[in-house]
Amino acid sequence: MQTAPIPRVVVGLFGIDQHEVGAIAVTSLLRDAGMEVIYLGRYNTPVKFARVASDEDAEVIGISCHSWEYLHFVPELMHRIASDALDVAVVLGGSVITPADAKSMRAAGVAAVFGPDATKDQMVDEIRGLAQAVRERRR
């Protein structure tokens, strides 16, 4: 029997958003679900997310958003990913993301936004699906 490849996810926060609780919780639930998490913690720039995703061959970048900095950093990250020709899915999570912002983030190319209502299973299933889609595209 062939085992499914393990999804690789880079998790972190932008700028000086210091509310790390959500990122730590999500990291552990993704690891419990059998994924590989490269945990960057706080203080990251779009350049760093893109570089680590590339170096680590990750399929997904997951960013925990608890300050409004993400509204400005995410478009910069999407731009960076495009200019580096990276194939990686970006997902966001956090209660500060309002419904209107979630819509504009998806329009900017974000693959999924997990609001306060997202369940553990939703997050795991969606991230696993995104990782698989990226792997298939890369093949």
Partner: protein
């Protein structure tokens, strides 16, 4: 299964006098061990100080906001810095360009403090601040001296959290020994120069927001109080000179009676500890002031209006427990830095509690309740045991360096997440009694409003650097570096001198980090320029 409190204390179906250690309850409010409250000053109006956290944009914008809140009936000023200010990073640092002025006020040089407090009457307005204490204190000092105001009359407070700030959202990239020294230096300085100022608010609020329960919150708070008390006494500062100026800023979550009992137990343990263990003789050293902020962690992004109800219940618990100052988290806090509308509701909640419900007419109205007294006893015992358990592990600064506290916070946040996501801890609107997102529109327009980064501020500070006397700034920063290297010196006068010379908070923090062989800029972008 028996019901239990958030801290895991098993509850009986009802309580009787057999459950209370001291059934006659001979204690009166205002008497040792102060379970029932501090002595109410004879001339004071009943009630508590109504405050709301403020600060956004730059100092001038925040000054307008403070005046607005005072106009609404707020009795004190409570300022929080934006994330760069809280982290001691200047607004023109590349990492912070999208966070200037959005979550608080941007403060980094002397003129900021003058602008922030312009026209605020210091004689009747205590100035409290969550900004890193050494800068909040020296900034206020600059205002006081600029106005020629009497140092003996300055009221207000600063927070100290040297053991936990680094792990709980206010990291400044400073080593723990430096953070602890700065705490002791500011307290010692204030004790000598600003006798009415509270230079030591033990802030158990922010770190308990990681998901700690009430017992854990207060045990860690006491570990820090005891650590700093020992350090100050080691320096020869008499306990009776600083203990009366210690206040505790506690959290208040949704477990109504446990929160009340927690505050009562905290006052009692503080009194016993100061009197019996640290041998304080002045009764004012035994009775600590409790200030409070209601829990942001208990608020939900879903059905924001429910947060107003939560704030009322928490505010009522705090009033019944005899808190001296109360801040109620704004209903939109799950989404954003509080809006003006939400600020107003939070303040009105307190006014309704006091003026309409009349809760503060009598001190400690729940005193003598079998349940509340039994819970108070049990919580105090649990706090005492947890403090002993932690102290048995060794020096608090070493524990912080080893990540012992970091692990406690991480475990607590995991536990909170598990309890809420499994539904074991009901949260109305979030894990039960939900409504579809497209129907969840009440007050939604307010949560969608944003505060844009205060980008003009970045240029303003860059411009400020050019107007300074470079030699004077360089000299003052070198002086600060030198003073910080000598562990026997109090650095506050050097920080104040550097502030007056035109140095910024980021530069001063960098100089002090260098003195402890840490990088000038832990985020790797800047180099010292002095």
């Amino acid at each position: 299964m028996a019901e239990q409190t958030r801290s895991g204390i098993a509850l009986k179906p009802y309580y009787t006098r057999e459950d209370v250690t001291c059934p006659e309850i001979p204690e009166t409010p205002g008497a040792y061990p102060y379970t029932r409250g501090r002595l109410r000053p004879p001339q004071a109006a009943p009630g508590w100080i109504h405050r709301d956290l403020s600060g956004e944009g730059d100092a001038r914008r925040s000054n307008e906001q403070i005046k607005y809140l005072i106009g609404l009936g707020q009795m004190g000023v409570d300022v929080i810095g934006d994330s760069p200010t809280q982290s001691m990073i200047d607004p023109d640092h590349p990492l912070v360009r999208h966070s200037v002025g959005t979550q608080g006020v941007s403060l980094c040089h002397k003129q900021d403090y003058l602008d922030l407090l312009q026209d605020i009457p210091l004689e009747r307005t205590p100035v409290s601040s969550s900004v890193p204490a050494v800068f909040a204190l020296t900034g206020l000092l600059a205002v006081v001296e600029d106005r020629g105001f009497d140092l003996n009359k300055v009221r207000g407070s600063v927070l100290q959290a040297p053991l936990y700030a680094e792990d709980c959202g206010y990291s400044s990239g400073m080593p723990f020994p430096l953070l602890n020294r700065l705490a002791a230096d500011t307290i010692e300085f204030a004790v000598k120069k600003l006798p009415r100022f509270h230079a030591y608010i033990e802030d158990t609020y922010f770190f308990s927001e990681s998901g700690l329960n009430g017992v854990e919150e207060m045990a860690l708070g006491f570990v820090e109080i005891r650590h700093l008390t020992r350090e100050l006494m080691r320096r020869g500062v008499p306990v009776d000179s600083f203990a009366p100026r210690i206040a505790i800023l506690v959290n208040c979550g949704m477990d109504f009676f446990e929160e009340i009992a927690k505050i009562r137990a905290t006052r009692r343990y503080f009194a016993r500890m100061m009197k019996e263990e640290f041998k304080a003789r002045d009764p004012r050293s035994w009775s600590t002031v409790i200030t409070s902020h209601t829990s942001g962690l208990t608020l939900t992004a879903q059905q924001s209006a429910n947060n107003i109800v939560r704030g009322s219940i928490q505010g009522m618990a705090l009033a019944l427990a005899g808190a001296q100052a109360i801040e109620i988290s704004a209903f939109d806090e799950a989404y954003r830095t509080p809006s003006e509308e939400a600020h107003q509701v939070a303040l009105r909640t307190q006014q309704v509690l006091q003026l309409e419900a009349g809760i503060s007419k009598v001190d400690d109205p729940l005193g003598g309740s079998y349940y509340v007294e039994a819970l108070t006893d049990e919580i105090e015992q649990r706090i005492v045991s947890m403090v002993a358990e932690i102290e048995a592990r060794g020096d608090a600064v070493a524990l912080a360096q080893d990540g012992f506290f970091r692990k406690l916070f991480a475990d607590a946040s995991q536990r909170h997440y598990r309890l809420v996501s499994s539904g074991e801890r009901p949260v109305v609107g979030a894990n039960c009694h939900r409504i579809p997102a497209d129907q969840d529109t009440l007050l939604r327009d307010i949560t969608e409003k944003k505060i844009e980064p205060w980008r003009g501020r970045i240029d303003e500070v860059a411009g400020y650097r050019k107007t300074r006397d470079r030699d004077a700034v360089g000299r003052s920063l070198r002086g600060l570096l030198q003073a910080a290297r000598d562990k026997t010196v109090n650095v506050v006068p050097e920080v104040y001198g550097a502030l007056l010379a035109g140095a910024t908070a980021g530069e001063m923090a960098g100089a002090m980090r260098l003195a402890y062989d840490h990088p000038y800029d832990p985020w790797g972008e800047l180099r010292p320029d002095f």
